[in-house]
């Protein structure tokens, strides 16, 4: 066989895939269901490549001009090679590409991505290989069923950003779900964010600290929410902030970042203090503006008075939640 062959899914194929996914547990590993996991991940990557949701595009450069290639110029398709399924990304207007992302080279299929002279002309990924390469760094790649159903098999529109899903992530307390994954040294592979931000350059040495921090987050959030099935949105804001920063910490260039750790700790303290009671029937009328400030502080390279600034920002979020909330009575 010469090389990967283009493969097109028809709507019935997607329906079948979705049906198989529905029958799966909430989280399953590539190692356990390699074929289904590879299909889900490939479809997820292929659908995002070249759209405004493509996180890889920012790292794809024209080596001749040194400028980033606009996502709109990138094309993607599913490919088959033997039994393997994968995805191919290329530019119609560039016969050479340069990827400015540490760790991605190991994930690119070397035979089908590079010419003999070593130049990169397209990016071919096989998720089955990505899972095995991640495993070399003590990382288990998984499919999170509900995330796949909500994005890949949801009402996906390549012209729209994922902005619409943010409330879904907040409402579903995805920070807790993500903490559980990290605690078990698992990373999802559902799209370009996972590939670019987490899997490329992942290193086993990061896991002891990351996993321990995830355990602390998981324990704090589980104590906070207890058996509550549908916490108020107001009570999910700080966990959401924690989730964002935990996501940052699980990105190789940010492993161990002090700013994120300090803001997470402050937010965890505020959660544990119970200053926002998740059982109190609040309706939040406005998302706290201080949220962005807290994220900014966490990502700032200036570490001066970090703990104080982090505490001030987290306190401001709590204050805003109280001032922007209204209480309703159960009727």
């Amino acid at each position: 066989m010469n090389g990967p062959q283009s493969h097109r899914l028809i709507p019935e194929d997607l329906t079948l895939l979705r049906g198989r996914l529905l029958a799966m547990p909430e989280v399953f590993a590539f190692a356990d269901e390699p074929e289904l996991a590879a299909w889900v991940a490939s479809v997820g990557l292929q659908r995002e490549f070249g759209t405004i949701n493509d996180e890889l595009a920012r790292f794809v450069f024209d080596p001749l001009t040194g400028t980033a290639i606009p996502a709109a110029k990138l094309r993607a398709e599913l490919v088959r090679y033997g039994e393997a399924v994968g995805v191919r990304l290329w530019s119609k207007e560039h016969d050479r590409l340069e990827i400015r992302l540490v760790g991605l080279r190991a994930l690119l299929d070397p035979r089908f991505s590079f010419r003999e002279d070593g130049t990169l002309y397209q990016c071919v990924f096989f998720p089955a290989s990505l899972a095995k390469i991640a495993a070399l760094e003590d990382t288990e790649l998984v499919i999170v069923r509900d995330w796949a159903l909500n994005t890949i098999f949801g009402n996906f529109d390549p012209a729209k950003s994922y902005y619409q899903t943010n409330f879904w992530e907040l409402e579903n307390n995805d920070a807790l779900r993500f903490a559980r994954l990290l605690e078990a040294r698992k990373l999802p592979l559902l799209g370009t964010h996972d590939l670019v931000a987490h899997i490329a350059g992942a290193r086993a040495e990061a896991w002891p600290d990351l996993s321990a921090r995830a355990t602390k987050v998981r324990e704090t959030l589980e104590r906070y929410f207890g058996t509550l099935r549908a916490p108020t949105i107001a009570s999910l804001v700080l966990p959401y902030l924690i989730g964002v920063l935990l996501d940052d910490l699980a990105q190789p260039p940010n492993y161990g970042a002090i700013g994120r750790r300090v803001v997470i700790d402050q937010a965890l303290e505020a959660v544990a203090s119970g200053r926002i009671d998740p059982r109190r029937p609040f309706a939040l009328t406005r998302f706290p503006e201080s949220y962005e400030k807290a994220v900014q502080i966490a990502r700032d390279s200036n570490l001066d008075a970090l703990a104080l600034r982090a505490k001030t920002a987290v306190d401001a979020i709590v204050a805003e939640i109280h001032s922007h909330s209204i209480v309703f009575r159960a009727s």
């Binding site: 393997a84 992302l101 540490v102 943010n166 920070a175 799209g191 994220v295 109280h322």
Partner: protein
């Protein structure tokens, strides 16, 4: 779970906020309970909406991971080594593909 945003929903939300705004958060000591926190308001129930779905229609929530790019910038990568173990993984896929 998610309701599409529509002008009529906005009107409903505004009406709901007006109804709910009768008391500020700090003014009512509602006994906390799981049931109370999950109970819909009369308005929401009448309109088959949960409080969360109303909040979903007007809260602008910044991205957790999806709407936000990886929190780092592109860097030039030169002569990056790929481990022999990773190359072996790729080679195994090629061998299986060639045999198919």
């Amino acid at each position: 779970m998610k309701k599409p945003f529509t002008p009529s929903l906005l009107i409903g939300v505004n009406a709901a906020i007006a109804m709910l705004s009768a008391a500020p958060a700090h003014a009512i000591a509602t006994p906390p309970s799981d049931e109370a926190a999950e109970a819909p308001t009369a308005f929401a129930r009448a309109n088959k909406l949960s409080v969360a779905s109303m909040e979903a229609s007007f809260l602008k929530v910044p991205g957790l991971c999806k709407a936000r790019n990886a929190a780092f910038d592109p860097v030039r990568v030169t002569n990056e080594d790929v481990s022999s173990a990773a190359l072996a993984v790729h080679a195994a896929l090629h061998a299986a593909g060639s045999a198919a």
